[in-house]
Amino acid sequence: MSGTSATIEKRLDHLQHHFIDSDQQFESAKLGMWIFLATEILFFGGLFAAYIVYRSWYPELYIQASTELNTFWGAINTGVLIGSSLTVAMAIRSAQLNQIKGLIYNLYITIALAFVFMVIKYFEYTHKFHLGIYPGEYYTFEGIAHEKANIFFSIYYMMTGVHGLHVLIGIGLMIWLVFKAKKGAFHSGYYTPVEITGLYWHLVDIIWIFLFPLLYLID
């Protein structure tokens, strides 16, 4: 690859003064992102821990309450996020191969899929609000015969809400990437922001991969 892009290798305006070369800078950024992802895992970890503790206390509550969640739309959303992960991976591949157009198209598709995810989420939420399934104190739904049903939905809203927030942040980041890509900031010698945003997006996908069976697929 170094042979094909010898001219581009010279473009080093992205290199910051305290790094020795692009490579050191790239590896540092990636390491930094991985460390950040570790903090993300523990951030969600707190919610998962709350989930597990309450599930171990009230297993029957989880079986009853999860029937209120729509498995079909949950599965569709899982597919949507996996698809968007695929397109992000394709976007990085395009950047690595210097195909800026491919990069931009793949980012567009990813953004679109992320919006689809959010729209489905929106309909799921409004449906629940309509039934009176609010978190905690404001819970008024009477379809579940369990006194702690409000707690299950508090956990549900916190988990999916914080995850949704991450999706929104991801959308923002990718819009920013599209702008930068259009300005020609990325090439095969420098695509660090694409790579680390990609890592972030895959993590958001991984979190959902766990949320889906834990929330929707309890019998």
């Binding site: 690859m1 070369d21 990636k30 570790a38 523990l42 821990a49 992960s85 591949r93 991984i206 889906f212």
Partner: protein, 102 residues
């Protein structure tokens, strides 16, 4: 580590990984149709999720070709999460109340 050796996956490979993930998603929904007794249904669901997450981490996030230290970070964070939940359960599962709680 060198700039010239970043792993580039072929498009075919990426699509393959994507399709494998779709299939696993269908599988994880499908196993709920056959009633697996407690607690194995949870175990199966988590196991499939772990496989999917590993596939994403290894092939989409390129950990398979990357510096081993990055893999270590991922494993370490999972480990510390398990510490959090594991030790908390030592309390919450083994509380003995003098009178059943209300």
């Amino acid at each position: 580590m060198s700039a010239h050796e970043h792993h580039i996956s072929s498009a075919k490979f990426l699509w393959g990984v994507g399709i494998a993930l779709f299939i696993l998603t269908v599988l994880t929904v499908a196993v709920t149709w056959i009633q697996i007794p407690e607690p194995w249904n949870v175990v199966v669901a988590i196991a499939i999720a772990v496989v999917k997450a590993t596939v994403v981490a290894a092939f989409f996030m390129n950990l398979f070709w990357d510096s081993k230290f990055n893999t270590m970070i991922l494993i370490m964070s999972a480990l510390f999460f398990m510490l959090l939940i594991g030790i908390t359960l030592l309390d919450t599962l083994y509380r003995i109340d003098p009178v059943p709680s209300f």
